[in-house]
Symmetry: C2
Amino acid sequence: MASSSPTSTAETIAIAARRAFEESQLVEEKERDVALTAIQEVLTRHKDEVLTANKKDMEAAQALAEERKLSSSLVSRLDLSRPGKYEAMIRGVSDVAALPAPTGIVTFAKELGPGLELHRVTCPIGVLLVIFEARPEVVVNIAALAIKSGNAAILKGGKESLNTSTILSSLISTALSKTSIPSTFVQSVSTRSEISSLLAQDKYIDLVMPRGGNALVSSIKNSTRIPVMGHADGICAVYLDETAVEEKAIRVVVESKIDYMAACNSAETLLLHPSTLSTIWPKVALALISHSITLKCDPQSLSALSSISSSSTLIKPSIPEDYTTEFLGPTIAIAVVPSIHAAIQHINQHSSHHTDSIVTESFENMSIWCKGLDSANCFINVSTRFADGTRYGLGTEVGISTGKTHARGPVGLDGLVIYKYILRSVNDGGNIIADFEKGSKGYTHIDIPKVIPF
Amino acid sequence: MASSSPTSTAETIAIAARRAFEESQLVEEKERDVALTAIQEVLTRHKDEVLTANKKDMEAAQALAEERKLSSSLVSRLDLSRPGKYEAMIRGVSDVAALPAPTGIVTFAKELGPGLELHRVTCPIGVLLVIFEARPEVVVNIAALAIKSGNAAILKGGKESLNTSTILSSLISTALSKTSIPSTFVQSVSTRSEISSLLAQDKYIDLVMPRGGNALVSSIKNSTRIPVMGHADGICAVYLDETAVEEKAIRVVVESKIDYMAACNSAETLLLHPSTLSTIWPKVALALISHSITLKCDPQSLSALSSISSSSTLIKPSIPEDYTTEFLGPTIAIAVVPSIHAAIQHINQHSSHHTDSIVTESFENMSIWCKGLDSANCFINVSTRFADGTRYGLGTEVGISTGKTHARGPVGLDGLVIYKYILRSVNDGGNIIADFEKGSKGYTHIDIPKVIPF
């Protein structure tokens, strides 16, 4: 019996989420914003209790960190008591409430024939399972995104933030219980065994969103039939072509590498056209070295630095693995490629299809770049660090997807919706296909205004 | 070594597809139509050879059918020699060529800040793995859709059509070899063992499209990390509410059930409001009986037919499984539900979220229906048989998806594309985030014309 218990718990949670989603579909869209306001109020009122729970998590984490069982960066990500952090978390909820709802938008409308109207309308996906690591404020963040988009959510945080996420999650339920949104619209689970059982609930759960590293995403994809939207690693490249201008090259390469080295949109690879070797490459290299970046160079780019290399320990030969490594730190891999076609081929075969930028003055190369590159974000003369939902003006960011279906690149609220088709007979124009295919009426397929019929 | 051979074959095929996809991205869009024309010509010229190969498949299949090892309907689906069938297959290619390309469409365009422009442009997904059953013409159909949308494809047909699909596939390669599209853009594999190895090639294959029954889709989802777009079963319902009008009810119910009983958009369930039991239900029942449909009734709907039931052997009591069964034949399950809310709940919990239709004169119920129903196609006073890409005016149909991500309902060519973001600095407006976040410039996020920059 013991072994059946996690499954039945998981099934109970998944069914409750499904029912909450179904019930909520008849609730008016504006009630979702009312629910978000209620969450803000409850979180503001219970700040002290949340911080008390957070202190417990912090103490346990610090003890583990002292035993070197946990990294100190993870401990700092756990901390909700840093000045302004709690308020920023609450402000996040009102920011989401202020966005336009991604649902109820007509994206396609046609008269199929006389008196027969088809509308394609955006709607929530259904039930989301979100798996994330340390930061406990993600509970609030995801709850807000789920409610705004009309999706029910099941959340699983890291075990280090258990006390904090449990109280945040219970406060969210309390807030929801006073609104038209079911209190089981957002639920939390705490143990790993529950996750594997939840991953089997493809009857009730529509989408899994792992927010963590490559290993997490990959292991989840291996263990579920539910579609997965996650981002794996970010191996981004910058390519300097034969027309690249020095100042622009330095600005783009340096910021792409050094601005925030742990980010997935930071550059890990620099590709060079041979003609840059004797012109701008040494200057770009010096700029990187001045920021203490290690350059792992292929033979050609290395020998082009022979005059500098004796004076810097940061210049090293590369190995093949460097070109498929997400360094997430002060290292960049350099390779010389004979042409833009070779640069594109190198990136398509080594990168993670996330974000890659060319520095060029050639219109032709810009066009080849954007067509040939199989990456979510194809950039021209700009830093890879622009690849971000907020910078793109998407309002908020659900994540950055390196997948090739549903949503790609920075994903905003519209990545949490799908659509349904609504077909209706207007003024009894025709009810059956025989009217159109055997009777006097014919299909017209004329565009009509994109106005929601209900 | 023997066991490594299918994997390495699969990997070789997958890599070849990937490279063909990458190479083709620099080929102009109009060259895809040139390739489609070349395919038409080759297929026309080699009709006799194809029919000779098809005859071999037919003879083998007929022999198996005589031994009752294969159904006769499968044998008839194999047959390409029936009058007009070969020509229809070729016409399918020109129909696809005539459609607008789904790629290169700007769906979002914003100035992020002065001199910084973002465009979201539709593009092919990459490499498709399509697994289908008997009908050999699917090879040509899918090849055309893949080429038109710019996706490379690996095809696996049923073993019964092996001779036919092999020659069709080789003729397609021959045709492509004379165009700008790589000849490995469309490849075929023939054995089941290759499929399982291909399902492991998530590095090179972006989407799996199983075109077959529920069991096929489900088994594929269980054995791959690659996203799957397939349709499982179609358990569709019609609901007659308290305002339903007799003639409309009979037209919608009868056509939804009898027009093409093996189709996924045929009705399998009929839900009744209690007020219809003494009014229109007996007439609807008689209409169905006149078409030899067996009615599997719950106690309420059964007793409402007491005056008829003695004279018809087609009226029977239902069992719970009837409401989750795809009969695909002359049977329909009937249940009485107390309200539209109960009807929606019944459908959300029993149907396959495919297509469900209400017969009503109530505007309020139409609105509740479309909001509450979690189905791809929510219909009002129309036959479920309208759920079809061609009838929707999508040009052609890739399939009908019962999934909740990427594409839902009838999927046209636009279900075979995703998008990439193109961000560029215009007139050197700004190259790095520091210009906008620490410098004098700010983000503007203004809509700009949706015109492709390249």
